[in-house]
Symmetry: C2
Subunit: 329 residues, 2 copies
DNA sequence: ATGAAAGCGCTAACAG
DNA sequence: CTGTTAGCGCTTTCAT
């Protein structure tokens, strides 16, 4: 490559990395020759000197990222990291223990410097393991999650408070939340939001934790709707959970929204096409991917001693559709 | 590392790669020391000599893999490749042109030797580009796709023929297929299957191509069901498409299955929880991931001149549920 | 069965 | 501004 361009290997390296010390003419020539030859620097060789060029992300199979489909988030994340020459090392694991183990390995292999820790748990193993392995974790969780570490702080608490206020304003007096597993910090934040907005005592709140699966949500909804005194509105963590709830209501002989209102915690095309269309909080897919990218690049650029990067992410306005209606009590 | 174990670096390398030429005792000691030190070989350095340790997979945003969610397939794929020390380089791209461009780059960078080409198109750019870039493509498509290349041959044709025979046996005389875009070879295979099984002329077949989105499928279904003479059964390529069709039927005032039967081309928890539950072909997620892994490892192990690896993949039996019923005509 | 040494393709420090 | 050179951490002949 250097021979063909008639320069030394160092010049090629400088030209490609936009380093100073190369004349414009030479840089241009190098770039042109590289293009003609279809030559590209080998990332393995590059990583060897320059350090890891990837950020690790282990997702637990079946999990969503704050209700958004993992792949949609990853798409935005990759798109934003691309100009930095960073790749995303995505792995699907069975549980957080496997994720922690993987982070330990990635650290030892120096495969990446930064890893993303999504859907943080109460006292999450992954945080300790990643830090011990010499990695810098970027945590995704509620506001004030993991103080001292870089994080994307998703304001689910505020979003769910808005949902509760909206439902209360419609006259709902018994609201239920079909929630994700309780060990997730995000679940607690959603709960806090609902509670904060219903503190005046006029609204009864029922929280039903599930295993996070659609079947679990369907079962929980069925129990809620066949109680002697059933909720007038049910909030579910994801679009598919809400869809399942819609079906459960139908089978139970209840008409949405007249007998019970349903709200989805994350929007999707399924929410818009359902009958009735589901009132939903917006999908975070793109926003979360971009926020993650900012948190990661910020962390990489930070000098030692800098305070950790915290990227706040607000959830947008509730899209009101046919699955919610005023409730006379 | 070698110093601590009291051996030379070569011995460490041999021990870790299970090469012959190391005594059992030495190998064990090396492994133990590596474990104690938490030492792991750096994959970048390893790739440098040993060649790429990853297989590339570019998926077009929004696409499924034969109706299965991409991440589910990837999970199985990764799991199977893990023992071989191979990783999956997953990238979400906007379209096949971007995928082709990415494959060209990956080839030039020698980032991988093998790439997966899913959802093959008619005269697919990716095949030529990948081959030109010195990569060996593993194609996912219908039986006899891309002769001469390694492939996973999914027998959608047979599966759809079985669907047609099942519907015909129920007395359906007008069957419609809400299909994926027509440029996909898989779409053509599904069509062929339906046609082959309805050749006796007793069943009228209508194929409606869509853009592959849920909205597209919903629109197509709406048009079908509001025709003067509407189909008695509708087959849709994916679970979410079928779910949308169920909703369209409901809005149109039609009762599934009495007025119209609905079949999903790929099963999921949504199909099982819908009202009525959807009669579906099984999800290929795990099978496809495993078949892909076999095709990839087979390709890597093949000596030059060996015939390309072809892994056949049969689609399992239709799960009959409440969305299909006999039809008097 | 083991050790020494030569690269893999790149970047960065230094010399010209 | 450009060329020379020394590694990064591993694998792999080739000697021993």
């Amino acid at each position: 490559m250097a021979r063909v361009a008639g320069v030394s290997t160092a010049v090629v390296s400088y030209a490609l990395n936009d380093r100073r010390g190369v004349s414009v003419a030479t840089r241009e020539r190098v770039l042109r020759v590289a293009d003609e030859l279809g030559w590209r620097p080998n990332p393995a060789a590059r990583s060897m000197r320059a350090g890891a060029q990837a950020v690790g992300l282990a997702v637990v199979a079946g999990e969503t990222l704050h209700g958004a489909p993992v792949l949609d988030v990853v798409a935005a994340f990759q798109r934003e990291l691309l100009p930095r020459g960073l790749g995303v090392d995505l792995r699907v694991v069975a549980d957080v223990a496997a994720a922690a183990e993987l982070y330990r390995r990635w650290g030892a292999e120096r495969r990446c410097d930064v890893v993303v820790v999504p859907e943080v748990r109460d006292d999450d193993v992954r945080l300790r393991v990643a830090t011990d392995a010499g990695l810098r974790p970027v945590v995704v969780g509620p506001t004030e999650v993991a103080p001292g570490l870089a994080a994307v702080e998703v304001d689910d608490e505020d979003a769910y408070a808005r949902v509760a206020r909206y439902l209360a304003s419609l006259g709902h007096v018994r609201i239920a939340l079909v929630a994700d597993p309780t060990d997730r910090l995000r679940t607690a934040a959603c709960e806090r939001g609902l509670r904060a907005a219903t503190q005046d005592g006029t609204v009864a709140l029922e929280i039903v934790p599930t295993d996070g699966t659609v079947e679990g949500a369907a079962g929980a909804t069925r129990r809620l709707l066949t109680q002697a005194v059933r909720p007038t509105a049910v909030v579910l963590a994801t679009d598919v959970m809400a869809l399942a709830a819609l079906d459960v209501a139908r089978r139970t002989g209840l008409v949405v929204p007249w007998d019970v209102s349903v709200v989805a915690g994350a929007d999707s095309v399924l929410c818009r096409l359902a009958t009735p269309a589901l009132t939903s909080l917006p999908s975070l897919a793109t926003d979360l991917g971009e926020a993650l990218a900012r948190a990661v690049t910020g962390t990489l650029d930070a000098a030692a001693g800098d305070p950790p990067v915290r990227v706040p992410l607000a959830v947008g306005a509730l899209a009101v559709r046919g699955s919610t209606s005023p409730q006379a009590h």
